[in-house]
Every structure is written in C-alpha cells, then in structure tokens.
Symmetry: C2
Subunit: 317 residues, 2 copies
C-alpha cells in the first residue's frame, strides 16, 4: 500500500467494485497479476456468487499463466465502501450501468479513496463526463472499458471525461500496459467507444440479413467463425486488407476495392474515399508494420491462422 497515486508498476492493492461478471472478472484478473484485491459488494450475500465467478475465471487464468504466488485466496470482500478503498492504489468500478447509481458511487469514492488514486470505470455505455458530475475529485476519474470476459480479453478502452486530468489518463494506460492489457487511449468520448461500434455495425447488418430472410442465425455465425473471424483474432480490418493487397499493400487494396464501397455490400453507407482518408489508411498500415514486407506479414498471418485453427479444433469447435 502506498499513499496517493503510486507509480503504475508499484500498485499493490487494487479495489474492485461490483459482484457481477465484470466486477468479479476484474477481481480475478488482478489476483492473477499478483495484486491484493478487495472487492466491494452491495450486499453480503453477493460474496458467494462473486467467489464462484472468480473460481471459474481462475481455471482459465491458470492456463494462460499467473504471476508467481498469485492466489484467489488473496481476495478480501466487504460491504463497507470506506474500508474497501482506504488502502487502495487503484480502483476499478463495475457497478450497474445506471447513471444515477454511478454518480452516487463516484460522489462517495471521490471523498473516500486516497487522494490522487485513479478511479476507473468499466462503463460500456455511459460517458465519464456524466459519471464524474457529482465527484468531488473528478480529475482522477477515467473510463477503462474492458471487453468481456475482462480476465481474458486484452482490450481496455481508456477515455477521459471533460474534467479528467490528462495525467490520470496517461497513468491508467501505463498501468494497464504494465499488467499485460492492451490499453487503447481514445482522444474523445464517442458513443460505444471503438470496439462496441465495430461490433454493433456487424450486428446490425446481421439483423438486417436475418430480418430480410437473406441469412439465418446459423449462416451468420458460420460465415464469421469460418471466414473473417480467425483473421480478426490476429490482425484488424485494416491490416487484413494491407496484407490482402499483396506487395502493394493498403494502397493497392484501396485502388482495387475502393470502388466496392459503392456496391450494396452492406446497408451502411460508406464515406467518400477522399485522398485524405486514403492517406490515413496507407500511412496507418505502414506505421503498424514498419519495415515488414508482404511476405513477412503474410507468413506471420498464416502461422497465426494455423495456430488459431488448431486451437479451435482442440477446444472442440
């Protein structure tokens, strides 16, 4: 335990709020990374459910490898918020997605948590500018949105609220990187952040196809898991096209498939493929794979796909 905001690598005590799958998932994750974890729950009866969720998560975490000495036994559970955060070096809040509930919790947290300690919200749909409204120390509140299950998925989307101090954002990103997550710091609050928006786009197109009788649930799922899915576990949509473009990369790809943006291949209207947008895409891919030519990237993609396909087979998919 340190007073105030420690260095990200010196965080020892983590407090997790909430006994649902997200709150419990975070508790399991921080236990696996060797932290002392205190979970705050609203009602004492929630402790059993929380510990059961942590135990389930633990078997997956052990397979991926936990920090030496890490143990689910390091979990402390309390219904006393003041006691829960008194010694915290970091707080991850995962209470219900109801603005009034979150605002009330941050009003208390801002008063009870040690000064400067970062208060991080798992919110998936609310904005930190709203959540921090009643917090007496809003400058240290940050959104850190995990992807479910938080103990397995690397993504954490990090976004500031209007009154958040940029230092708190930078600290949060460094902390999550230190514990092995893939922090994604956004420049502004966008509804649904990034991952949920992309997921929602595919979901809406799927709903349209099912509603129109063009595809069934089974066909939608088969198409994704046996088509683009395994690639997206390895490279995102931009790098997939960069590699798909062969030696010419993204530039060639845009030249070849740019016109397809005019095709009715999705119900989502495409933006104009301006020179500026094309430049951002090409430069972005070059920056993402500096000095790696098509052959290297393509061989790496194939090696990854073989591993992913084998892993699927072994897990009975």
């Amino acid at each position: 335990m340190t007073m105030g905001r420690p260095q990200p690598q010196d965080v020892s005590a983590v407090t997790c709020l909430g006994a649902g799958p997200i709150g419990a998932g975070w508790a399991a994750f921080f236990l696996a990374t060797g932290h002392d974890v205190t979970s705050w729950v609203l009602e004492a009866e929630e402790e059993e459910k929380l510990r059961s969720l942590v135990a389930t998560a633990w078997s997956s975490l052990e397979q991926l490898g936990t920090t030496e000495g890490a143990s689910p036994g390091q979990l402390h559970v309390t219904t006393d918020l003041a006691a829960a955060v008194a010694g915290a070096d970091f707080v991850q809040e995962s209470v219900p997605e109801i603005l009034e509930v979150k605002q009330a919790v941050y009003a208390d947290l801002g008063r009870l948590a040690p000064p400067d300690v970062v208060l991080c919200s798992s919110t998936s749909g609310l904005s930190m500018s709203d959540i921090q409204a009643l917090c007496p120390s809003p400058e240290r509140t940050v959104t850190g949105h995990p992807f479910n299950p938080p103990y397995l998925m690397p993504l954490v989307e990090i976004v500031a609220g209007r009154r958040t101090d940029p230092d708190a954002v930078a600290w949060t990103a460094e902390f999550f990187r230190h514990v092995g997550k893939a922090p994604l710091v956004m420049d502004r609050e966008v509804p649904g952040f990034i991952a949920t928006r992309l997921q929602e786009a595919i979901w809406r197109e799927a709903l349209h196809m099912i509603a129109a009788g063009e595809a069934t649930v089974e066909q939608i799922d088969t198409a994704v898991t046996n088509g683009p899915g395994p690639r997206w576990a390895l490279m995102g949509p931009c790098m997939v096209f960069h590699v798909g473009g062969g030696e010419g990369g993204m530039a060639y790809c845009l030249e070849q498939f740019g016109p397809a943006l005019k095709f009715p291949w999705s119900r989502l209207d495409a933006p104009e493929l301006t020179d500026d947008l094309a430049r951002r895409l090409i430069d972005g891919c070059d920056a993402a794979a500096p000095g790696e030519d098509f052959r290297t990237l393509s061989a790496k993609m194939n090696e990854g796909l073989v591993g992913v396909l084998k892993a699927r087979r072994e897990a009975g998919f």
Copy 2:
C-alpha cells in the same frame, strides 16, 4: 477418374482454373486432401508463380495435417483447357473477376468438361446467374466462394444461379463438407454473399471513424484483435450474444440490449426489433446449441479463448 458426376466422396481428379492466389490456393488445398490436381493457366509462364504459391501454402497445410500420400508433386499444369478438364471429377474456377472473361470460360467449360461434372466459381462479387449466361450446360454451374486464403479458411459460400439445378448445389455442399470445408448454402443470390457483407459493415464503420478523426488505423485494429476478434474465431455474433446473455441466453440479451439498437453506436441504422425477428434470433441460437446450457457454452468459449490467445502469443502476435 470417373465419367460424369461421381459421388462426392469418390472425386479423385480436380481441375483448378487460374494461377492467382485463389486458384493456386485451391490447387494446394485439393493436393493436401489427396486429390490429383490439374491447374489450367492462361500462359505457360504462369506455372512458376503458381508452383511457388502452392509451395508457400504447403508449409501451412502440412502443419494442419494433410491426407496420407498427399504431395505437391501431384500437380499437373497445362495451358490447354480441353486437356485440363477432360478427366475432371470437379472443376473449381478462379479466373479474373471480369464478367466477360468468366462468361467466355463457362461457354468453353460447359462444352469441354465431362457431362454433369460440377463447375464451381470462386467469384466474390459476380452473380452465377450472369456468369452462366453463355454456358451450354448452366444447370451444373454453382458459386463456391472461398475465404482467403482458400487453403486455410474453412468457409465456402455456395449459391445457385437462376438456371442451376438444386442437385448440383446439394452435391457441391456435400463435396466441400467431405473435404473438410465449412459449406454455407445460401437460398438466394445476395450481393457480397454473407461473410463479405458482414466484413464490409465493419470496414465501413471503421472508415467513418477514421474519416471523422474518432479513431486511427492502429486503434481500429487494436480494438478488434484484442476485443471481439478472438471470440469471432470461435463463435459468431449471434452465439457470442447468446452466451453473453448468461442463463437467459439470446432472449435475455435482446431484452437488455435491444434498446441499444436505438443508440448511435454505429452509423448503420438498425432494423426494427420485431417479435418475429426476436423469435428467429432466439430459435436460431437454441438450434445452434441444442441442449447446451450457459455454463457448458461459456466454459467451452473460455477454453477456446485460452487456446486462441496462446496460439497468437506463440505466433508472435
């Protein structure tokens, strides 16, 4: 070699048209499944490129496991279309995506290939109704659209043209299932089929976000590979939400997140969530996982994710 259309499991000689990544990828795949493969190329000079693509594919195929006795040495290459298809039990065409080129090829194939042998097109953007227009035996022409690279990705989207015989469609699906692919038979020709439409929806939302300065190329890719990507390698968007709904499954999920369809979480307008659409989703998920409860599905998903995450790590991602 058999005359006419053999039983799917009796196919011995496969003819692949085209020396590009798709045509060569198919050649490699059918070699790995123990077939005699003849590749037809337009110019003799293409043989070297073709063999080099097959060799690259072979190293991945070997890691996944090839049929006993399979060898890239079984590949015959010719520029003579009549000779290429004379002994074929099945033809997979992957010539350039230019309607006039495909139509001319099918005019010849319909005349030259043994009667009833299925002529299957890798087309990603054209409709079989158009491709088969000049073919003297259109009833045996079928679209079999693979996902790149065709030697690794299981998906093959199978669609009939207007004049295709339903028996040819059923035969094609059974054949691809027999060789280990995941055939997806569509009821009608939809532009972009299913996988490309879903991929295009995510791509368009990504382009909008990049154009609006809401996300960078790197952020888009990080969000997918560390968020929904690894799950989509295992379960499609519908099953992911079915499992995400906990004990209540898809029905609970629609109740909870249905209203989110009204949120501006993607630029694609959502369809109305009618009772009929909800019913199709719920029934579809139940049919996809008959008798498997939340705990079983969730444990399977986690086991798969651990494998996929380990596979990514081992491949250097």
